[in-house]
Amino acid sequence: MLTRVKLICLFLSAAILLAVPPLAQATGEDFYVTLFARIMIFAIAAVSLDLILGFGGMISFGHAAYLGLGAYAVGIFSHYGITDGFLQFGVAILGSAAVALVIGAICLRTRGIYFIMITLALTQMLYFLGISLEEYGGDDGLNTDRSEFVTALDLYDDVTLYYFTFVILVVCVFIMHRLINSRFGMVIRGCRSNEDRMQAIGFPTFRYKLAAFVISGAMCGVSGALLANLTEFVTPEFMHWFRSGEIMIMVLVGGMGSLFGPAFGAAAYLLFEEWVPEIMELVVSGSGQNWQFIFGPLLVILVLFAKQGLWGLIPGGRSNDG
Amino acid sequence: MLEVRGLETAYGQSQVLFGMAFDVGPGEVVTLMGRNGMGKTTTIRSVMGLIPTRAGSIRFEDRELRGSPSHRIGQQGLGLVPEGRQIFPNLTVRENLVATAANRSGSADPWTVDRVFALFPALAERANNMGNQLSGGEQQMLAIGRALTTNPKLLILDEATEGLAPLVRAEIWTCLASLKAEGQAILVIDKSVEALTRIGDRHYIVERGRVVWQGDSRALTADEDIQHLYLGV
C-alpha cells in the first residue's frame, strides 16, 4: 500500500496539475498549459503501457501504434469535416482495441525477445502504411480540427482542453487502479511471474493476456486522440519505433509495475526534454542541442541504480503498490 | 584444510547465519545436518562466495577466501554440487561435463568425462541430449559428474541424493565412500541421517544458523535425543 510520503507526493502533483492553468495565465506563461497537457497525454499512454509491461510482463515495443491510431481516428474524421468528439474518441478507442486484438493475437504466441521484436515489426508496418496513405497526407501528415463534444466544452480553448485531459488522466489511473487489484489484475501479474503454473492451476492465460493487451491498446488510443487534439495535426511519426521507445522510457523512468510511476515518468521525460537544453544553453550557448548527450547516460544510470524508477526512489513502500 | 569461523550471512534484512563455524580436514568426510531452513545451503553459498557475507572468516589451505569472487574460490579447488542441481539446460550432457573440466587437485588419474560416464551409465546414454531434457535424477547425476570433472580438492554436495531412486542413491553413497577411500575430502549435506552416519567422519548439526552439536558418528548414533531434538528422527 502507499506510504505517507508517496501519498503526499501524489496530492502535491495533483494540486500542481490543477493549478497550472491559473498560474500560467497569471504569469502570462500560458505556454505551460500546452506543455503540461502534453505531459498528461503521454502520461496516459505510459500508464496504459505499464499495464502490459509492468504488470503483465509483456514487453511491447510497439505501443506507439495505438498512439498513432487514436490520432488518425480524429484526423481522418476531421479530414472529412466530421468533428463530433464522441464519434472520434469512440472510434479511436474501438479502433485501437480492434488493432490491438489482432496484433495481440499474433504476438502473444511468442515470448521474450520474440515478443519485443514482433510488436516492433507490426508497428513499423503501420508506420509505413501511414506514410503511403496519400489521401491522408502520407508523410506530410494531416492538419486536423479539434473535437467537438458539447457546445459547453470548447476544446479550442487550451485551458478547457487541459482540464478535459486532466479528467481523462485521472479516470484512466483510477481504472488502472481497480484493474490491477482485481481478480483480472492478479491473473495478469501471475502470468508475468510463472505462466506455466498459471495454466496448471487452471487459467487459460492466453485470453487474459490478450484482454490486457487490448485494454492497454484502447487506453493508449485515447491518449492518441488527445494528442491529435492538442497538436491539431497527425502524422505517421506518431507511430515511429523511436516513439515506442520513448513511452517505454517514461514507464521505466517512472517505475515499472507501479500505478502512478509511469505518469511521473512522462512528466520527468518531457520536462527534461524541455528544460535541460535551456539550462545547457545558459551554461554553454549552443550546447542545448546536445541534450541527448546528457540524457543517454542519465537513462543508463537510472536503469542501473533506480530499479524501481523515480516512484521507487520516493521513500517507503514497494513499487508494486497497485 | 577448510576452516570456517563466526560466519554471518543475511538475505536483505533477515539474517540466516549467526556465527556458523566448522572445519574440514584433508581426506575427511564432514557432514552438515539440520531441519529445513536452518541455513545449511546458505552456509555453502557463503563459502562459495555466491552471496555476500557479513562477518567471519573462511580459510582454505590457510588462504582467506571470504570476500573473493566465487570463481577464485572455485579455482582454489572447491567443487560444488548445488542444491537443486543447476545444470546448464542449454548444453548437452557431454558439454556440461567438458565446459568447466580441470584438474585442480593435480591428481595422477583425474576424473574425465569417460570416468563419469562409467560411474553413471544413464548419462552416457544421454550424452548428446540437452541438459533440460534430462529427468530430475539424471540431472542430479550430471551435477555430481560436473563437480567431479573439476577434480576438486574439497567436494561439496548439497542434497546430492535428492530425488534419486534408492538404487542410484546407494550407488552414490558407495561412490562417495570410494572417493573417500581415495583420500578425497568431502563436505556433505543430506537428509538421510543413516547414510551420513555411515560415511561421515564428523558431523555438525545446524540449528537457526549456528552449530548446536558436533561429534563423530558413534557419538551421534549413541545420542538418540539429539537426533530427535534437532533432526526429528
Binding site: C107, I118, Q124 | L50, N90
Partner: protein, 307 residues
C-alpha cells in the same frame, strides 16, 4: 523484366543478405548467446565505420584502417560492457532495452561532437574498385564481392567458435546460469567482457564494410539495427546457422520483392497506383515476413536447442 535481370536481382538479394548477416553477426553473439538485448549494436556499427573512415582518410590505406578499427572497436565494446551492461545480464530484457537505448542517444551525440554532423568521406578503396562480370553482360562491383567474402568468413569462424570450442560452451553456459559457471571456477565476468568486445568488433567490421557504399553519418546504425534484430528473430535466437539463412532469405525477399512488386502489381491495378503502392508494400515486406514466420514458428526458423 527479363529472366537474366531476375537472376541478377536474386544475386543482389543474396549479397544484401550476406551483408545483413555481417551486420547481425555481432548481435547474434550478444543477444543470441549472451542473452543481452543490445540496441547499442547499431552504435558500434556506426563507430566502426567512423574509426575506419577516419584512418582511411588520414592514411589512404583501407587495410590500415581495418587494423586500427579492430582494437578501437574492441575497446569501445569493453567500455560499454564494463560501464553499462556488466550488471545487466540477470536483469530482464526491459532494462537492457532501455539502458542500451540510452547508449544509442549518447553515441550519436558523441559522434556529432567529435566528427560533426556532416557525413564523413569514405570512398571505395582502389584495390577493391572496379567490377567483375558475374553474369553475362552484368558487371558486378568488386567491393560487393568482397563484402560477400568477409560475411561468409565471419559466419564460418563464428560457427566454429560457438559450437566447437570450450569458450563457446562456457559462453552458452553463462547465458543460462552465470553464478554456477563462476562457482565452477571460471571467471565468467572477464569472459563475457571479452565476448562482448568480440561482438563489438564484428559490428565495427560490418560498419567498415558499409562505409564505402553508404553514408558515414551519425545515426547510420539505426535502420541497420532493426534489420539485424529481424534477422536474428527470424533465424531463431542463438542460432548462427539460422541467422545466416534468415539473412539471405530476408535479403532476397527485400530486394527481389522491391524490384518486381511494382511490375507485378501493375497487373491488377493501374500503372500509377502500382508505382506508389508497390514500394509501400515492399517496404513492409520483411516485417510481414517476420510476423508470418513468428506466427507459425514462435521460436524462429531454427530455435537454438534450449528447449
Amino acid at each position: 523484366m527479363t529472366w537474366l535481370l531476375l537472376l541478377e536481382q536474386i544475386l543482389n538479394g543474396v549479397q544484401f543478405g550476406v551483408f545483413l548477416f555481417l551486420v547481425s553477426a555481432g548481435l547474434t553473439l550478444v543477444l543470441g548467446i549472451m542473452n543481452v538485448v543490445n540496441l547499442a549494436h547499431g552504435s558500434l556499427f556506426m563507430l566502426g565505420a567512423y574509426y575506419a573512415a577516419t584512418v582511411f582518410g588520414w592514411t589512404g590505406s583501407f587495410l590500415l584502417a581495418a587494423v586500427v578499427m579492430v582494437p578501437m572497436a574492441l575497446l569501445s565494446g569493453i567500455a560499454i560492457e564494463v560501464v553499462a551492461l556488466r550488471t545487466m545480464y540477470d536483469r530482464d530484457h526491459m532494462d537492457q532495452v532501455l539502458a542500451t537505448f540510452g547508449l544509442i542517444l549518447f553515441f550519436n551525440e558523441s559522434v556529432r561532437l567529435v566528427w560533426g554532423a556532416e557525413s564523413q568521406p569514405m570512398p571505395v578503396p582502389d584495390f577493391l574498385a572496379g567490377s567483375v562480370e558475374v553474369l553475362p553482360g552484368t558487371p558486378y562491383p568488386v567491393f560487393r564481392v568482397a563484402v560477400i567474402a568477409v560475411g561468409l568468413l565471419t559466419a564460418f569462424a563464428l560457427y566454429l567458435l560457438i559450437t566447437r570450442t570450450r569458450v563457446g560452451m562456457l559462453i552458452r553456459a553463462g547465458a543460462s546460469n552465470r553464478a554456477m559457471v563462476g562457482a565452477l571456477g571460471i571467471n565468467i565476468q572477464l569472459l563475457y567482457t571479452l565476448v562482448f568486445g568480440l561482438g563489438a568488433i564484428l559490428a565495427g567490421l560490418a560498419g567498415m564494410m558499409a562505409g564505402p557504399l553508404q553514408s558515414v553519418e551519425p545515426g547510420m546504425g539505426e535502420d541497420m539495427l532493426i534489420l539485424a534484430f529481424v534477422v536474428i528473430v527470424i533465424g531463431g535466437i542463438g542460432s548462427i546457422r539460422g541467422a545466416m539463412i534468415a539473412s539471405v532469405v530476408i535479403g532476397i525477399v527485400e530486394v527481389v520483392g522491391r524490384s518486381i512488386l511494382p511490375f507485378a502489381m501493375t497487373g491488377f491495378m493501374g500503372e500509377d497506383a502500382a508505382q506508389t503502392a508497390g514500394p509501400a508494400v515492399s517496404s513492409m515486406l520483411i516485417y510481414v515476413l517476420m510476423a508470418a514466420v513468428l506466427f507459425f514458428k514462435p521460436e524462429g526458423l531454427f530455435p537454438a536447442k534450449t528447449g
